[in-house]
Symmetry: C2
Subunit: 327 residues, 2 copies
Amino acid sequence: MTVSRSLNQPETVSPATRRRVLAAVDELKYVPNVVGQGLRHRRTMVVGFVVSDVSNPFGVQQIQGVSRAARAQGYTVVFAITDGDPDEELRQIRALAGRRVDGIILSPVYNTPDAVEFSQGQGIPIVVIDYAMPQNDVDVVRCDTREASRELTRYLLNLGHTQIAMLSGNEKIVTAVDRAEGYADAMREAGMEPDVTFGDFSVEGGAKGTESLLRRTEPPTAIVTGNNFIALGAAHTARRLGVEVPSDLSIVTFDNARTDMVLDPFFTGIVQPVMEIAEVATDLLLDRILGRFEGRGRTRILQTQFEIHNSTSEKLTDKQRSLRKPT
Amino acid sequence: MTVSRSLNQPETVSPATRRRVLAAVDELKYVPNVVGQGLRHRRTMVVGFVVSDVSNPFGVQQIQGVSRAARAQGYTVVFAITDGDPDEELRQIRALAGRRVDGIILSPVYNTPDAVEFSQGQGIPIVVIDYAMPQNDVDVVRCDTREASRELTRYLLNLGHTQIAMLSGNEKIVTAVDRAEGYADAMREAGMEPDVTFGDFSVEGGAKGTESLLRRTEPPTAIVTGNNFIALGAAHTARRLGVEVPSDLSIVTFDNARTDMVLDPFFTGIVQPVMEIAEVATDLLLDRILGRFEGRGRTRILQTQFEIHNSTSEKLTDKQRSLRKPT
DNA sequence: CTGTTAGCGCATTCAT
DNA sequence: ATGAATGCGCTAACAG
């Protein structure tokens, strides 16, 4: 009817009726039904964001980034939280497909191809963040986590450490493997034997792994941890066992929280441009939604940052140590 | 058609056809269009969550809580972030109304009644969290922040402090006023003059306020801060000015992050059961959505927790001080 | 047990 | 410049 025109193409309607319509709209507090519009236009102006974990500050910033970028383009975002369960991930993606979202941004649990395939099979554009998806032809926005891990390990090597262990997350998760491999790269380059333990991306996982490392007859003097939770567990455990960080044990990590949120940033480690990842991903997605781009999957690799704080120190010989910290 | 029945009321259709239908569904990868269902049923199975700030860990946990509780009941959640702008808040609520969400949970910017009125005027049930809304007849889930603030201030008084200042947030925000009043209550009870500065709920706000407090000829020995951001700014500024926390200056606060996310929880203060607030709010909302309750607004006040960490110490006399910390 | 009719709210198309 | 017809995908109600 004329109402629709008055609201969507005001020029095509006479000023007089337009005024009358707008007055009535105001009077009746009429709000156009976007569901109806969606049905008619076959687009919902909604994008879905599937993320495994929001308890991690990492996930939070992604939410902010996607949310901001999407809103700027007039899109609404619905979030689906998978709690790290791949079945739930697929279920959530089905649900989004049912809602006929115009596109999906996925931070996958594992790098299995099913979720992406499903979405693409439904004709819904999808962009993956954080992980490479070798089995899918899909847009990916991520950092080179393996290279970052190598850099991180080299930093410890340069400090003189030789007993460096790696405590990573669940071996099924790509990130855990990538970071372990970057560490292994650096170790082998330095002519040393990698020493990797896969566990769990959690405080408990970090605590458990660290305990067995420190109980060895020759414990490591430095640990590369797979993420901030593991680092936290490691630091707690070290303290509990009377091992001082950083003087007795250096710890480096990934995915630190924003440093402006803590009084004393403690962990030295790699920081990812989380917000930017989310924004770039949203842009790539909108390219496809709006038909500005069609073609094979694009990959965008963003730079990480290396932040030095207080969880690392030079490796001291026993002699140096006894001099500096007399009993 | 029969497809609909096969999927929604499988009993009412013969096993044979049902099998055929399900086979076809599988074959064609058919996913029912929830948008169409929404139009037909006049319900979308979506609830909106309007929150002002997600950079605060506080907001994050609320997201988790709402998300979990809603999902458990089969509802999807769309998040709307207002960045603390009341105009944006109203705009987002209009947008949610346009999407015909079945209900709204609102963590308001100010306690102006417009947003709630609008939502209720549209026939959309709404529940407010965190703040009292004296001008609206609406369900509210919150803590007694004024009482908590009183308790917090008493703690400082019991430590022997007499020069206690309060650094709160934007005076337009209810929380800022409530917390200031709780502080003032405790001070007056103890026969002292309240000393409140309203500023901004941010690190910068805390820094600025603390600087002018500490530059006084008789600076306070303790500060009650309006939230964790202000506390952070206060601690940074104190350190910059060579004032040691907690020995020279005690700081207490509200809305700390989960203590399992930091290595050394530093600030003594009030912790709200954020997740629980979100869950209770979702329950109240579903009561109304599902018609299980209609009537005047209900209020649920949840208990806060008081956590003691390392940002406070007893007030020492100058003599005591010189004894303990010889120059 | 299955098919038909009709309408949820909207906007494109065509007719006036 | 406005109105009428039509269909987006779905299901309640009614026929068969």
